[in-house]
Assembly symmetry: C2
DNA sequence: TAGTTTATTGAGATAGTGAATCAATTTCAT
DNA sequence: ATGAAATTGATTCACTATCTCAATAAACTA
């Protein structure tokens, strides 16, 4: 336990700044969330529904959105669903997604990030966040 | 007129290859679609609903998906909606999106594309397509 | 600690997007 | 022109995510 101290502190900071409260549910959802890489609200709900007393679906949605605002999670629209990525323990990362088997590989590339800043600057934009997804075939699916 | 000849031909090719038919609706939707950069099915529907006889919403969805399969359009999940981008007259392009006013600026960057290939290669992936979106504030919204 | 204020929760209702259904219609090869 | 096959459009349906609101819980104050 308590590799999560840092994240719980980050959450508490955010809550304090916005006059929000630390609830049993929020803490519970955070603990489960920190153990995953990518998760949908629905998956999270099923994961938590086993416990008793269980947590309502609306609360899962609200809390995952809260995590996004607190910088602990990042929402990613993937097909028809929204995936919430855990970005607390590692910096921002981008994704390589296999269109055949669905495998997701994360990566980071300083040079690409730098070029993004450059592009944004030439168009007068200040970047807040970005999303880069590469779709293709992984080595096993290419045969 | 008929800068669109090329695209209509591309559509006809696709239809022929898949035993599909060229209908008044498909032609009509294509003509309107080619005049736009980004559009949702709903926007397209309202755009076309003025005409008489008007075109059903289901047909819009089906046809925009058809355009994607034919390589004339590209679907992009933006928040809860799906935007269809016109990619017929220009190559693939990426987006700068203002989180305040919603303005979308397109850009292309050879160097970034090259680095993407590089990253994919080191992970054993073969890229089919990609999506790069930079979110931030445009010059007017930054004040 | 008890009391009070304020945010949160959960169950269900609601909104919205996109796809499925199917009878009527249109396309297109013959 | 004819007929097989695809398409259309109105509607229904499935699904995701948000909203509503009474009941509850958190956190501040005395």
């Amino acid at each position: 336990m308590n590799k999560n101290t840092k994240e719980i502190t980050a959450l508490k900071d955010h809550l304090a700044k916005h006059q929000l409260k630390l609830t049993r549910q929020r803490e519970h959802i955070l603990n489960v969330f920190l153990r995953t890489e990518h998760v949908t609200a629905e998956q999270m709900y099923r994961q938590l529904a086993k416990k008793d007393p269980h947590i309502g679906l609306a609360t899962i949605y609200r809390t995952l959105n809260l995590f996004c605002e607190a910088g602990l999670a990042q929402a990613r629209h993937f097909g028809t669903q929204t995936q919430y990525d855990n970005v607390s323990h590692k910096g921002h990362h981008d994704h390589l997604i296999c269109t055949s088997c669905g495998k997701i590989v994360e990566f980071e590339n300083e040079e690409i990030e730098r070029l993004q800043e450059e592009v944004a600057h030439t168009h007068g934009f200040t970047i807040q966040t970005h999303k880069l997804e590469l779709y293709g075939l992984c080595s096993s699916c290419r045969h």
